[in-house]
Subunit: 138 residues, 2 copies
C-alpha cells in the first residue's frame, strides 16, 4: 500500500539500478558521493521488523549486492550502511562508499563537513551490471 | 582474530545484554539516548560482505531482536540502524530508538543537536530479557 504524500512511494525521476516486486535500488544524485546508493522498499513500511523474515533477508541481500558491487568498482576505504527514515518513514537503506579524503571522513556523512573535496564520478552502467550480477547469483 | 589496538576487540567494562560465539549486544552508556544498543561482532572484520552469508543472517537476527525489544519496551517514533565503522573498522551495528523530542530528531544523531533534552532512562534488565526472548525463539 502506498502513501501519496511520501516521496519514496511516488518516485521522482531517478537513476534506477535494479528493481523487483519488493524493492528498487537507485543511484543517489550526489556529485560528492559518487556511488551512494539507496535500496528502497516498494511499499510504505517504516521498520525492518515490520517485514516478514523472508522479506528482510531479500532486502539485505540487495544491500549486500550493492555493497559488494561498490567494493569491487570503487575500492572504498569503508562502506556505510544505514536505515534511518526519521524524515521519510518509508524503509530505505543508504549504502555509501566512504573514502579517507571525502568531505566528512571519518565522521558519518550527516555530521558537519571537515573539508571540501572534488566531485567523485561513478559509472552507473558498470554499477548496474555488477549489482545485477550479484543479485542473479544463487 | 583480534587486533590489540581495536577498542571493540578488547572490550572495556560494558553493559552486556547478550553474547554468543559470533557477537555481543551491549547497552551504550548514553544518558540522552536510553536504549541505544550496539551489536558487535566478536572478531575483527570491517564489512558485512566479509562475513559468510550465514553469519550475516545471524548478525541481522540479533539486530532485529534488539529492534523488536526496543519497540516493545520504549515505543519509539522510529528505529535507526547503522553500520558505519569509519573510526573503528570492526563490524558493529548501532540500534537507536528515536523520539520526536530527542536532541537531534528528525536528523541522524551524528548531526548537530537541535534542542536540549532530559535524560531518558531504560531498564537494562527488561531489555536483556526481551532480547533474550527474541533470540531464543526459532
Amino acid at each position: 500500500m502506498n502513501t501519496p504524500a511520501c516521496p519514496l512511494c511516488c518516485a521522482p525521476p531517478e537513476t534506477l539500478l535494479w528493481r523487483d516486486d519488493l524493492l528498487r535500488v537507485i543511484l543517489v544524485d550526489d556529485a560528492f558521493y559518487g556511488g551512494f546508493c539507496r535500496v528502497i522498499l516498494q511499499r510504505h513500511v517504516p521498520e525492518m521488523t515490520d517485514l516478514l523474515p523472508t522479506e528482510r533477508a531479500q532486502v539485505m541481500r540487495a544491500v549486500y549486492a550493492v555493497e559488494q558491487a561498490l567494493r569491487e568498482l570503487l575500492r572504498p576505504d569503508k562502506i556505510n550502511l544505514a536505515s534511518l527514515g526519521n524524515q521519510v518513514p518509508h524503509l530505505h537503506w543508504h549504502v555509501i562508499p566512504r573514502f579517507k579524503d571525502d568531505a566528512h571522513f571519518p565522521d558519518p556523512i550527516w555530521a558537519a563537513a571537515r573539508r571540501s573535496t572534488p566531485a567523485r564520478a561513478v559509472d552507473a552502467e558498470a554499477l548496474r551490471s555488477a549489482i545485477g550480477k550479484h543479485l542473479a547469483s544463487p
